[in-house]
Subunit: 403 residues, 4 copies
């Protein structure tokens, strides 16, 4: 495991439900963090897990078959280069690599990630958890089995992901992260929507991307009071009064299905949604059917009256904003967000020496969609695809600031 | 009442909950229809109601104070001209007129509607029911009273309205109706969203419209099997294989609030939504709050097993698509859609010889937004507002077909 | 209107949606209260309304056709006696009387209410609002029309009503009120359940009552801290440490339908439910169908974050317990609770000089069910019906306390 | 695994999420069934799994550490005797046994199960899945951590489990199963409610059982048309016209908590609920809080219009009753019903040579509650606990039919 932060923690919780895997090592820049992570893995019976001081050390150990890259966006390419070099030098037992979303910050970085993996002869997987959400797996199966054969393919998939803003400073920093909420969260939405529109068993190429249209806004975090709050929270590192990234993005992609029908992906993502907590909604619509999912429509709820006072926390739902009133509780976050089945699939694929269903090639295709959306928002017009300009495109907020 | 169709029927049901009003007359081209309407009004204790053979006859009777125009879109301007003429000639007791949405099919028609009403010295009202939805009234009050003073104005309002397609042929005909689903239903969505973003007591001008971005698609109804179905249903009158209007539209408007903050309206409307029935969703989001409404999240539901067979109907919910399974039931459609409080407000205003809260001027502003959205969709780019091109703009599908 | 409290206020809000009625007078012991009520009625256009100092004065005025008794339980019989006397003496224009639930505190009182009304030749109606809930009216219609003819009559109706306790001291006092939560709220539940099980058009006698089983508990309000709170809130008037009434009651009634099948009413009521606010749930179950209703499953919700502080109130939902978190909002309380359609029906019936669908005879039958349930709880065994002991039965907590 | 039916299948699906366990063997009377089960286990990577022709053969193999008894109720005691004998004779490697609920059909049988396990020196566990439901685990943690310390212990727990009737004939047969729906399903409800009322870390004895009250009915399945259907479905084996068991049961238990407060368990179970599918609801109520869970309030739903025809199935939800309309879909049935965490806990406990949190002693206590409820229903009165009569009590429908 490269990284020991929020993302890596989620994988740890998910792996409790995965057989035939050992969390053998972790590497993270901060020693106490990696030690704590290893201790946790060992305590949970997922180890024996070693906290390595560096990726090089982990690669050199013989204990590791596969690497999960779950470190910040701006560090992933460097990690991949190191893995590539170790393989080229025959100095590692690692034969597979999985990388968190988005695969990279720009299309050229993404293509480099894929090239490195292939050149090193590595099995590679793209960790898009939402495809493995228990809800997505079940809903997709039912729609394509019960409804599509009766009345035709779906023509619209909607995906939203909204919360009140990320924790770590680097997420807020356009350069390090690669953008704002569009790159941070719409990478999930466009890919899960694409997945839901694609017939099970058919390749992603069966759906042809035609055009992209997007708009972005900074609705909350450049308001003076919230920009100040963000400055305080990040020790002055992030200043949205002077250098905001978007906290609200809306994108629409049109595609052509194998029957020649138009299909649409409608995505909205936000860091300005102050509801109970993280909200993911998904819809698939076709001529005689609808599938819908809302992560906050939970079967489990608690109500705490105005007399029940308690500390702010995230113990009811991720990115929680209240501790009173009627609050939804997610009974199994790793499962519903997809981490459990994702890890099960990746472990099974790598053990069988197969590529998983999502590879770095899918990661590249996702970045291409994101760049098209950013470019549409920048130019104020719909972008036709494919568009060669995207190869070198960098979203405005990710461009290096002038010195 | 001008018109005795679907819309007029809804008003009749709503008026059961309105005091101090008599449905004194109805006019409709089809004699059995107007007779049935008058009989219904009388039976419900809303009369005495006379079925007039023509608008002229109704205007000439002394029994009428106010006219509700609820006839098809393409007939409204003619009706208004007739009322204007009768007033100018001093031949009618009518002193007020209310018109169903949208006020007109183009901006120039809408401005003419307003001009006629003002020139004739008529009180005028724009019947946008969603503003008077019990949910909108209650939710808006709570948000602006409890939440905004604490943390700031809202920055995002969402509104969607989706169903499986209208009944009457004229709705499907771009020329007569003025467009497809964008003009038919987004007129609701953009206006209710605008209303929710505007501080109670402030005028609509307090929110400045900045830009419009839209896309439209025909997702379902030009597929061969559904185009054929539509042709059959309309006796061959409507052919979406050759002349489709959009059945899916997405629009985004940006505004500037009085504090200089950006605010966004996100609207989606569809005739291709095959769920339990008509679905309206609304959201208002601000720095520390959310208001949400979904017309299909009902407290009342029925479940009918696969053994319960029965005729297709609309007795559970408007535009119903199934009679088995778990189905939401709207306990009070005229109330939740806004017809009851709308009529109560309009009756009270006209009785007090006041303009209601929504006038033809609001109707004009709505048409301006719709034209901006259509033009954005046509050109594939964001439209800055105001835009003088809109004055004479006609949406592509509403342009007269070449002979 | 006799009474100007919580109940009378609800009627006032409901009457805004009722045609052909004038709130001509109000009587209440407290002068400011009745003056305020009359002022409100006049302001809302429901008047002209006079605040009478006494029921006698109101009866003697010629302005009143019908009286709504909405004063506390222990005052209703006296009011009825006064109306009876005025009619007997030919000193009043009143020809109809409607009385809030429960009709009386014991079966003998209830029979006296009916006797007085009949003896005075009055039209009489029993105000059980839940029967007129928009949800009950719609759901019952669908079940009996779509589902029962296919598969048979329903065999189970559930009704619950739960909140965190009433406001006024007299509700808490077993003697004045007639019991605890069982008489206060199960009067709704058993009658609405009975109504839902009865075929529309058939009389209540078509369903034969067979047995009653109940248990009662005091779960919350005799805990020392809450007993103290209640003592404080009522100025020491109510002491549940020494003289509690039940705050939780569960009752089950078995009936025989006209086909000889067993049917069951399952009712639960509570003053110890601390959720968002008042919760009413209803279910009707039959061989191939279910109808379900939950008053807190609202389409409209607001979320207020932990940063939004505000005063405690009842502006979101009746008996509200929080002002943060995700809170349901009832868009139309008078409608969903049944007050609007109830008043519409009663006004229409009295204007047509007919008995309404619920009369004092129904009120008597409801009290009989309540007494059977109380007696079952007291004896710890199921009661067979009819049971002559009930004629003089007084629930334990309503018996006069020994001096 | 003893048994290869519905229950055993659920365990198989659940074990995909459990580490450190191998499904090494299965025994079932029907050869094709056990072969299919073993094949499934092997295909899912849970094996190597052998299909044994008899329990004796499985006990004698050296491959087995622990046995899961998941065969029909009337076969469990015999299986336990066989395991006991093998242990006594030193002829088996098995050191632990887990048994499905209910542990036995009567209190004397249940005590014998416990005695045999203890006498054989076996670790023993009682498989009550609902305690391990992800919702129960999460909700209980939040309530006891956030709410109880503020305002006091809960006083009411509700649990219901309702569906449209079991599949296998033996469930319907009072003698083999031990009763009707009360023993089949209320065993879940009373135990999960008891668990929710008990402070984490405290023993079940901390809550003292005081009394039991129940009623039972046969609402649906003795109606002629449904009795005939049941006869047909079971090849004439089951005849509810002549020998019905209850298909509806309601039970109420009162307890005393360690602070001397009264607490109540309210349970309802039904085989006559025709909704979307199996419905489990849970509630915990205390002075300032509520926890609620409804297994059919799912985040994932599908809508299929009246045009989508398809075979009846159970692919959306267990015990599904429709394939059209809006249908809830459980995204992870083994998780939400508790099988995944249950198996994880039992495997961890047995591997650590510890008793799991639920043992046969808990199973005995559950049967005691069930017998008290049956006796209350039979006598039509509340039963005080403890009651020595229960030791030899057999519910009426489970008594051997007279020859």
């Amino acid at each position: 495991m490269v990284g020991a932060g929020f993302m890596a923690q989620f994988h740890l919780r998910a792996l409790l439900g995965v057989r035939n895997v050992v969390v053998a090592g972790v590497v993270s820049a901060t020693a106490p963090r990696r030690e704590a992570f290893a201790a946790q893995a060992n305590q949970d019976g997922l180890g024996p897990c070693t906290a390595f001081p560096s990726l090089a050390a982990m690669l050199a150990s013989d204990a590791i078959d596969a690497i999960w890259i779950a470190s910040p966006n701006h560090t992933r390419l460097a990690a991949m280069r190191e893995i590539h070099a170790a393989r080229a030098a025959g100095e590692t037992s690692v034969f597979a690599v999985a990388c968190e979303k988005p695969l990279a910050r720009t299309l050229s970085e993404a293509r480099e990630m894929l090239r490195l993996a292939e050149d090193a002869g590595l099995l590679h997987g793209y960790l898009e958890n939402q495809l493995f959400s228990t809800a997505v797996q079940r809903g997709r199966d039912i729609v394509w089995r019960r409804a599509v054969p009766n009345s035709g393919r779906p023509y619209l998939a909607r995906a939203t992901e909204e919360h009140s803003g990320p924790h770590e400073p680097w997420f807020w920093d356009g350069e390090r992260q690669g953008g704002g909420v569009l790159s941070d969260m719409m990478c999930h939405s466009v890919e899960v929507a694409r997945f839901l529109l694609t017939k099970p068993g058919e390749s992603r190429e069966s759906m042809t991307l035609v055009s992209a249209n997007a708009t972005v806004s900074t609705l909350k975090w450049k308001r003076p009071v919230y920009a100040a709050q963000l400055r305080d929270r990040t020790g002055g590192e992030i200043d949205y009064a002077t250098r905001p990234a978007e906290d609200f993005a809306r994108g629409l992609l049109t595609l052509r299905d194998p029957d020649g029908n138009e299909a649409v992906i409608e995505a909205t993502t936000s860091w300005a949604y102050v509801g109970p907590g993280l909200r993911i909604t998904l819809e698939v619509l076709g001529p005689e059917y609808t599938m819908e999912f809302n992560s906050l429509s939970t079967g489990l709820k608690v109500f705490l009256s105005r007399e029940v006072t308690g500390r702010a926390g995230e113990d009811l739902v991720e990115k929680q904003n209240a501790e009173q009133g009627l609050m939804p509780v997610l009974d199994d976050e790793p499962g519903i967000y997809g981490y459990t089945l994702e890890n099960r699939h990746f472990v099974d694929a790598f053990r069988a020496r197969r590529l998983p269903d999502e590879t770095f090639a899918d990661g590249v295709a996702v970045v291409e969609m994101l760049m098209a959306l950013y470019r549409s928002a920048e130019l104020g017009r719909t972008i036709s695809l494919p568009d060669p300009e995207l190869e070198t495109y960098v979203p405005p907020v990710a461009r290096p600031r002038p010195v």
